[in-house]
């Protein structure tokens, strides 16, 4: 660690009345809450880029199960162990990893209170807590219902994904898999449609008389033409997608009867139900959230509008037009860390550029992508015109094959960036 002669620090701090600088040269304390795509990226990047930061990561889980590639677990193409990552790599980088649950942030006192009783003091805090599910937003869908109608949208320790996988394995051929999909915004916009694809991939090989009934609360979705091209080409009539205007919005569930009920009263009885409910920022960030449930942030520093000094990255913020994706969480976490470090030194935050790349597997050797490059303009975050966009349409087997290969490499790269 670089240190400045102590006398110089004291002189500087005294003369300029900038205590933050003095702390920065000793060990400015960065506390990161949440060990997923945003939090692990922030903690790793902070140690790599700003070794003078003292970094503590608070995360209740002993290992992280990724949402990305969870759909391949459902398809039987991955085991859950292959998408589970330990925090030992971050420890080796010098991150203090505390396995506890953060209960509350006090922006005035600059402390984070933990469920285990400890209170952590910070100079800057980065919250990347992810999402909470809005239990009850769909009538009858609560935590008990989720055991019978798994969401598999918060990976937790993997239980939800394992449950949905087991139900698919136990379903007889000819069954209907019902999937309830929420309105925007929600975690991973293309995720439900990759899930439809991967379940179809499994059913086609093992239960080819089965159907997928996708009930959607909206009119359109991410990469829609590309997904639907792929579904027709690979799975024929197996998938039925129902938009809101054709009564696709699920408003009530009956877990005992395995019924998904839609807005206009249609009751769909299904063999397996995957209910992805509406979402909001996770509890720790909720005090800083706007009325819509997501945290409005400064587009450059990612400090919460309601709590300067508290940076909120990942799915919990309102980052539109950027999607709630792992890549965006990684990209914005680095900008938030760089901004926090700059502000601790009394400097201006760096000028940001944000990246997103989201691959979706549609079938064997068949993946599609959406890319975005974003900058901060006069009206906040905006996509760079002319850049980004989705994969080309058409009969392009080599493009689809390469994107499937690159998707696998993306997964390995980004998880190494976070955890290695």
């Amino acid at each position: 660690m670089t240190t400045l002669p102590r006398r110089a620090v004291l002189a500087a701090a005294g003369a300029l009345a900038l205590p933050a600088i003095a702390r920065a040269q000793g060990a400015a304390r960065l506390v990161v809450v949440g060990g997923g795509f945003g939090g692990a990226s922030a903690a790793s990047f902070a140690r790599r880029r700003f070794p003078w930061l003292d970094v503590t990561l608070v995360e209740p889980q002993r290992a992280f199960v990724t949402c990305p590639y969870g759909n391949l677990v459902l398809a039987g193409e991955r085991r859950i162990e292959q998408i589970t990552h330990s925090y030992e790599g971050l420890r080796a980088r010098g991150v203090r990893v505390v396995h506890d649950r953060a209960l509350a942030v006090d922006p005035a006192a600059r402390t984070v209170r933990l469920a285990g009783g400890d209170t952590l003091s910070y100079d800057r805090v980065i919250l990347s807590p992810g999402i909470a599910l809005r239990w009850g937003a769909i009538q009858g869908y609560d935590e008990a219902a989720a055991a019978r109608m798994p969401h598999a949208w918060l990976p937790g320790d993997g239980t939800q994904t394992r449950t949905l996988r087991r139900m698919l394995e136990e379903m007889p051929d000819g069954g209907v898999v019902g999937i309830a999909i929420p309105d925007n915004p929600f975690r991973c916009p293309p995720g439900p449609y990759e899930r439809i694809s991967m379940i179809a991939h499994y059913l086609k090989r093992h239960k080819p008389r089965s159907k997928i009934l996708a009930l959607d609360a909206k009119e359109g979705f991410s990469k829609q033409p590309l997904f639907q091209d792929g579904w027709r080409a690979l799975y024929g009539e197996m998938i039925e997608w129902v938009p809101a205007s054709r009564d696709g919005k699920v408003t009530r569930v009956d877990p005992a009867g395995m019924v998904l009920e839609t807005e206009f009263g249609t009751r769909h009885r299904v063999a397996v139900a995957n209910v992805i409910p509406p979402q909001r920022a996770a509890d720790i960030a909720a005090p800083f959230a706007a009325a819509n449930g997501w945290v409005d942030v400064d587009p450059t520093t990612f400090e919460a509008r309601l709590a300067p000094g508290v940076h909120v990255v990942g799915d919990a913020n309102n980052g539109a037009p950027m999607p709630k994706s792992g890549y965006v969480a990684n990209s914005t976490a680095k900008q938030a860390v760089a901004s926090a470090a700059a502000l601790l030194r009394g400097e201006a935050p760096p000028e940001p550029v944000y990246f997103n790349t989201c691959y979706s597997h549609v079938g064997q050797d068949y993946a599609i992508s959406v890319v975005g490059v974003f900058r901060v303009g006069p009206r906040g975050i905006a996509e760079v015109p002319g850049a980004g966009g989705v994969s080309p349409r058409g009969d392009l087997p080599e493009q689809r094959r390469l994107e499937a290969l690159h998707a696998d490499s993306w997964y390995d790269s980004i998880t190494r960036d976070m955890f290695a």
Binding site: I21, E347, S391, H406, S409, A420
Partner: protein, 95 residues
């Protein structure tokens, strides 16, 4: 006594010392696919240690839609010339 701007510079320089290779943040965006330090991953090309002019020329060709690729054209069109130069120089300096 140091004036504040100089002091700020001195602090920044000292704080930056331990990691010699300070990637521009734009280069951080590459790592999510090209691997830590741009070392390559699976079917995705390595960037580290390649000639800076070659890397910049490749990026400009992607941007001009003159080089086939899956997603790099879409990404390169979001970069400025200055960012392409900085990112290329950064990866060229890595081994």
């Amino acid at each position: 006594m140091l004036k504040p701007p100089l002091l700020g510079f001195a602090f920044a320089a000292l704080a930056a010392l331990p990691s010699a290779a300070q990637a521009p943040l734009a280069a951080e965006g590459c790592l999510g696919c090209h691997g830590p330090r741009g070392g390559g991953q699976g079917g995705i090309a390595a960037l580290a240690g390649r000639d800076a002019d070659e890397l910049a020329a490749i990026m400009r060709a992607f941007r001009a839609n003159e080089r086939p690729g899956t997603i790099m054209g879409r990404i390169a069109r979001g970069y400025t010339d200055a960012e392409i130069a900085a990112v290329a120089a950064h990866f060229a300096a890595l081994r």
